[in-house]
Every structure is written in structure tokens, then in C-alpha cells.
Amino acid sequence: MNGAVSDSAAGASPAPAWSKPRRGLAAVRVLIRITVPVMAGLILGAVILALLGRNPWTFYSDLFRAGLISHQGWQAMLTRLAPLLLMSAGYVVAFRAGLWNIGGDGQFLLAAAFVAGLSPTLVAGLPRPLALLLLGLLGMAVGGVWTLLPSYLKAWFGVNEIITTVMMSFIGMNLAALLIKEAWRTESVMVPQTDAVPLDQLLPRLGGTTIHAGIIVAGVVVLAVWYVLRYTATGLRLTVLGASPAAARHAGLPVRRLIVGAFFASGALVGLGAALEILGVWGYMRADWNPKFGLALFALVFLARLDPLGAAPLATFYAVLDIGGHEAARTASLDSDFILVLVGLILLCLAAWQVLRLPAGERLTWWRCLGDRLRLRDTP
């Protein structure tokens, strides 16, 4: 790891296509690229708050206090961050290979349902570390398996994965609810949910806080994904495939295997996120539970330019908004849907900024690049 860091510090990085030779300047650019539109989004949100007769200043200070500054706030935020980090890492892997995994929510809920449904049995029958390990792997397996159909259709028949992953997502979400109602429904409460496992039998807390050990797992996995993408042959193969499928074929890369592999890894990371959320926060799952992390996070990750480390601050920001926003909305007696409005505004500003900051000649190129990524490709 040390070698890796010094390598990147020494000069231009080997792997990422978008790295600029002058790193210092690039860092400033990235900072501007993110902060300016985020501020713009918050200002637009303030205008709406003022129109609704609320004090924007109070709202935002409540938000950041509850989501970041207060003792309870930062702990809740870090707890929320674990699944978000893993999910964004999952998206990044697919993005890097030029694939769109839009079905994160379905993969997440289905993996969560399996983990929640099987955890009472496993925890009761096995030593805790082994049970947790198996449940984590189970989440990964379920998430990964749920991408197999779209990736097979994509790799062999060139079927657009955007459509298929969205469809699989609907099926996955409803299948999760169905499984909880039919197979794993508890008899202890009336609402359809799984048997609850006491949290103290699941993921351990970190010294004196409410944060569970999942955040460590998430951090390590994100670093590992970053390392693989940046410094290994596998990462380069995915980058080549994502940059140009024609060149990947020309270079003799196993395009079909890469597509299936990248998709599986993407789903598995999302599934691991789900497992951590169940094992660290809930201990059970309700049939109607859906945190809807997928779409907002997806857009944020896309704007982070497909880098796992770049996505981390954005995921953190989203966690702050999510945690603090609900608190602030409650205080201001607003519906918590206002948080989604705020997230949407920020995303809109981020996307607009991407286009506006380009010189006129390149604006078209950016959209064309997006178009190229969206295009239905022919069968490799």
C-alpha cells in the first residue's frame, strides 16, 4: 500500500484514464467542481424553504447539527455511511467497465431479506464470527446473483443493461417482500417482518459509540476496490472495457467474462452493504422497509467520475443530508420528502455545472460521451 501511495505521489498515475498530469491543480478543480454546485443547490433549497415560510438558516443549522456536529449526529451518520460506501463502490466497479447497474435497490433489498431471514438460524447455530462471515458472504452472493441475468443478456446479446437492471430491481424488491411475508414471517408481531435477532449478538459496536463495526469493513473494502481498479491488471482490463469496448475486443480481453464479472462484483458490493445494514442496525427486516439509497447515490457516484475514493466524500455528504435532514425537517414541521427535493436540487446543480464549466466547443462532447455510454452496444 505504501508503494502504491508513493507511486501516485511521484508523478502521473498509471491507471485512471481521467487523471491529469498536474495533480495539485486537478485537486483544486475537483474541489471547485463539487463545492460550487453543492452550494448552489443548498441556496436553491433555501429559496424554497423561504417560500414555504421556514427559516432556511435554522433549517440548515439544524441539519448539520443533527447530521454531523452533535454527538449523536456524527455517530448516526457514520452508521448510515457503511452501506452507502459499499453501494457506491459497487456502482463504481460497474461504471468503470462502462456498465450501468441501475438495479441497486433490488439487489440491496433482496440481499437484506436473505440475511435477515436466515440470520436467526445461523446466529443460533454457529459461533458469532463464523455466522457473521457467512451472512456477509450470503449478502454478497444474493446481490451478485441478482445481476447475472442482466449481465448475461448484455454480454451475449447486447441487451441494454439499463432496462434489464431496472426490471430486475422491481422483481428483487417485491420478491424480498414476498419472501418475508411467506417464508420468514415472524409470529411475534402482527406486521410482516422477520424474526429479530438482538443486536448485541450481531456486529460489535466500536468502543463506547453506537457505530457498528460495519463502517470498518466498508472502509477496508472501498480501499481494496480502489487499489484493484488503480493498480492491478484486472482494474486496467475493466478500465479498457469501459473506455472502449471495441478496443477491448481488439486487445483480446475476455469481454464477456469481464462484463459478467464486473456486474457480479457490483451486485456483491451492494449486497454486502445490505448485510451490514441488517446486521449492524436492525437485526430484522420489515416487508415494507426500503431505504431507497440506490438512485440518489447512483447519480452522486456518476458525478464523482467513477473513482471509489472520490465517491466517498459524496456518500458522506449524502449520509449527512439523510440523517440531519430528517431531524431538521421534523423540527421545521416539514415532510421528510423535502430532503429528496434538496438532494435532487444538488444533483441538478452538479450535472448542470459539469456542462457549464466546459468550454463551448466541448459541451456537446460531454453529452455525446454520456450518449455513448447510454448507447446499446452490439454483442461482443
Binding site: D7, G11, A12, P14, A15, A17, W18, P21, Y231, T232, A233, T234, L236, R237, T239, V240, A243, S244, A246, A247, R249, H250, A251, G252, L253, P254
Partner: protein, 620 residues
Amino acid sequence: MEHTGAPRTGGALEGTRTQPLVRLCGITKRYPGVIANDAIDLELHSREIHCLLGENGAGKTTLMRILAGLAKPDAGSLVFEGRPVLFRSPGEALAAGVGMVHQHPTLVPTFTVLENLLLVGGRRCAGEPWRDRGSRSRGLLGRGFRLPRKEAETAFGELAQRLGAPVDPHAVVGRLPLGQQQWVEILRALWTGPRLLILDEPTARLAPQEAAALLASLRSLKDGGTAVVLITHKLREALQVADRITVLRAGRVAGVIGPERLDAVRASGAEEPALLESEIVGLMFGERGVSAEELELAGAGRARSRSTTGRAPAPALPPTPVVLSVRDLTVAPRRQEVGLHSVSFSLRAGEIFGIAGVDGNGQKELAEALAGERPVRRGSIVLDGRDVTKAGVAARYELGLRFVTDDRLGQGLIPSLPVSLNLMLKRIGRPPWWSRTGRLSRTALLREAERLIQAFEIKTPNPEATAGALSGGNLQRLILARELADRPRVVVYLRPTQGLDARTALAVRRRIEEMAAQGVAAAVISTDLDELLSVCGRIGVLYRGHLLEVVENDGPGVEYKIGGLMVGAPMGGRLAAGADLDGDGASEELHNRERAANHELTSQPDEPTSQGDESTPRLG
């Protein structure tokens, strides 16, 4: 402006004819690195079919795009019916009465035939004067909110009947066979009733009898008063229908053949057409003595091919072992492609084998099938005695089978990645550059990159610069470095000097020859016949996915023979004996008809040549 060495056969009588409909004066169009049109003069008359002939890149399409308002000339003027005009958009050209059928499909595949026509605008009523039509907006489509389907349907019926085009107006275009789509393209170009109709290789995608029908309807259009421009690669077609032929070469007018000569030839007996054909082939491919600078620059290569006419053939030396042997290679065509049909040939160590042909006759298919990028339907590829037909790209690269692609930025390289990684694209994950765990060793990578950059003289600020920043010549050097590194055995070059300036092109040819001298076998697939003549020992011709006769590049007249084969002219040599051009009996019949047509035209006995190469496919 003078047409260097151009015989202006038709010039004498021009004055007596009516004023030309369109006069192009000194049209010049430059693209980065190329002059597509170099001071071209051209006159187009009503009631005439004007054929434009010339090699790929001769400037035919560019010239016509200028006329159709799709490109702006850098210099020169356009006179339409005696009035100078400047078409700033295709709409303006359309309004003035210029219709164009493009080489590549331009229809909306999900629309019906009629909807595609309605997009263009209204059908001009008979007798409605052109000048009063201000713009497209006065077409049927623009007249109101409602789509005038009924009226359009009636108008369509009339037009289709007049042309003898059997097209259902309500069929969805994407579901029609290619031949029918081509008819729709033509109908759309005629929809507004143009006075000048330009067709860019309209018969390339048509079956022979469809092509014949199209040519017949062009004649009737001409008789109706329309001026027709026909861009074609098929010499026979041109001689069949043309009233006037202009040959372009390297952006200039190489020669004009007027109506009198053509009429005379068509009326005359056996000898004349063949004579004219060879004259035209000569104009298209022939003595490129036009530009002194070019000759000087490319001097060595060209001079040798011209003065000694071809390389000294190999027989003096003992034959080297066969390195690559391709048998019966058949590849299914993809959209807009011809595929490959039973291609067989073999390469000996150190041999440079040329594959000529007009673009789009199976070049890409052959190169990619050899490199392992395309599934092979039938046949075998044997490299150094090993059957590699089932092997993938990476395995073939490892065994020494390399492919220098012509799509450098799209396929060959990744512009956003650094030069160093682009040099290693086909060796990702291999030691010593990657460790067993798959970690990249930056020092090993840089060492290898520096070595190749130096050996192949790639001009790059440093190995970490992105490949996209390199110039065209350096991109090609980068690809050559990657493909020729690490003991190549056979190299397939696809249009290796495409888009390169003369100096770099020469260096690339030198590199090909150097590698051959080291015993590397080469297959050079190129549309530039001069290039093949200057480097290759034997030359085969790809025509509609078939490898026709393989010709020894050993003496005068070779270029005429190959040139003839390339354009499907019957003069050079016949289709290889017994070769069934489309691989099944039904199309064999079509080809018999086609040959009968040749026969009619040239009145020469249509016998297969007895001369055949061992590598010519024989199915019968």
C-alpha cells in the same frame, strides 16, 4: 487551372450544347492533412447521366456533398442555371432542386416509407416552378398542422410506378430488405422532384437485377429532363449508362470522356469498349505523375514500382517455409458488410502478400478474422503448423500473429490512457510487467515503454502522456510498436498508411519491408494499389468477400489487371474459375446473368481464365 494530362475528349462539342444546369468552378476543399478537392471544374447538364469515377479518397463524395449543401468549399464557385449560388445547408440545395442519395443509409429506420418521405417535405406538384419555392417549409409538411398522408400516398403511388420501384409505402423502413431500403432512399431523393439527382454508389447494396432496374429508371429520369450524377466503383455500370464520364484522382480531374466518344464506343464492335475501359482504369489508378513533390517525397517506393514495374519475384531464392495458411475462410456478414466467402491463401516467411480491393469488399472482415476478433463460420487458419482457428486474440498475439488496424483511435488505442499502457494493451497481466498477483510494476512498464518509444521513434513528450495527444503518424508508430514487438511471425496490416502524410507513409512501408527482411510474413490489406505494387510480391484482389485471382507483381501491366479486378471489370481476368460468388446456387444464377450482361457490353468471349493460382478458391 489545367487538367494535367487529361484527355478532354468531349470538349469539342460542348459549346453547341445547351447551357449546363450546374457549373462547378475551381472547387477546392481541404481537410486536415488532405486536399479532398483541388480546383475541380465540372459541368452537369440536364438530360445527361454524368458518371464520377475514381479510387477511394479521390474526392468524388466530397465534391457532391458540396453540391448538396452538406459541405462548404474553401474556394471555388457554384453556378446553378447561370446564377451563382452558395448552398449553406442541405435544405437550400434541396429547395434549389438538388437531391442526393447517400452512400450510407440516412433513413429513419422506425418510420414507415411514407413518413420518411414526409420528413423531407412535400411532393412538388407538376409544373410548379422551382424558383417560387422559397424553402422546404412550403412543402406539404409545412403547410399545416395535419400530415397530408392521403395526398402523399397518391403522389407516392405515381412516383413509384413511374420508377418501377416495388415499395410498400406503409412498410416500416427498418424491416425492409437492404435493396428495398435503397429504393426508398432514391424515392426520397426524388420526392421533391429535383432537377439534379446525385447518387453515391447506389448499386453497392443492390442485387444485380435490382441494379439493372435502377439504371434503367435513371435513364427514364434523364429522358424526363433531370440531370443525374452517378458515383460508382463499377466501371461496367458507368459504361452502360453514362453520357459523360469524369474520372477523379487525388482530388483532381484526371480525365473527361464525352458523350460522343461513349456513343461511338457503345455503337462500335468488340475492340473499342475494352480499349476505353483500360483507358479509364489507367486514369483511375494509373500514372500518378501529377504532383512532382509527391513523387519526390515518396520517390523510392513509387519510382521502383514504376520503373522496374513490380518487385523482382521470389523464385530465384529457395522458397521459405509457409508460416500462415488460410483455407476456405468464411465469415458471416454483419450489417452493411459483405462477409468473407471461402478465402484461401498462404504466406511464406518473409513474404509480403498484398490484398487489393475497393473499400468495403471484405477487408475489415478478413483482417479481424485473421486476428481472432471475429467468429469464423467455416475454414481454418494455421499458424506455424498450429491450428489457431479457435484461438482468441490474446493467444494469437502470443503466437506471433499480429494485426495493425486502420481504426487507430476507435479500436487500436485508448486515447484517454497513457502511451505506456497503450503499448501494453495486448499484454495486460503478463509478467514481468504485472506481478503474479496482478499488480502493475510501474518501473518495468516504463522501461518497456521507453524501449519501444525509442525503437519505433514515437514522438511523445513522455511515456505517461495520453495517446490521444499524439499525431496521426505517431499513433500509427505506437500501434506498430505494439504489434511488431516481441517476435512477430505474421503481421496483418489493414490500410497501414491510411490518412498518413507521404513521409510517414513511406516510413511505414519501409518498416513493413524491414520486418519482411527479418523473416516476418506480412499480409498488407490496402485500397491503395500503388502502395501494394511498391511493397508486395504477390497481390490478391478482394471483391465482394471473395479473394479473386492472385497476381504476381512481376511486370508491366499488373496494375491494369488488378485495377480491372478491383472494379469488377471483365477485362483484367474473370472471376476465379468455378468460384460461386455468393456461396449458393441461387445467386450463381444471378451472376450468370451478370456475366451475360458483361458479355453483351464487351462482346468478348466470357471464358474463365485458365490461369489460376493455387490459392484461388475452387468450389466447382
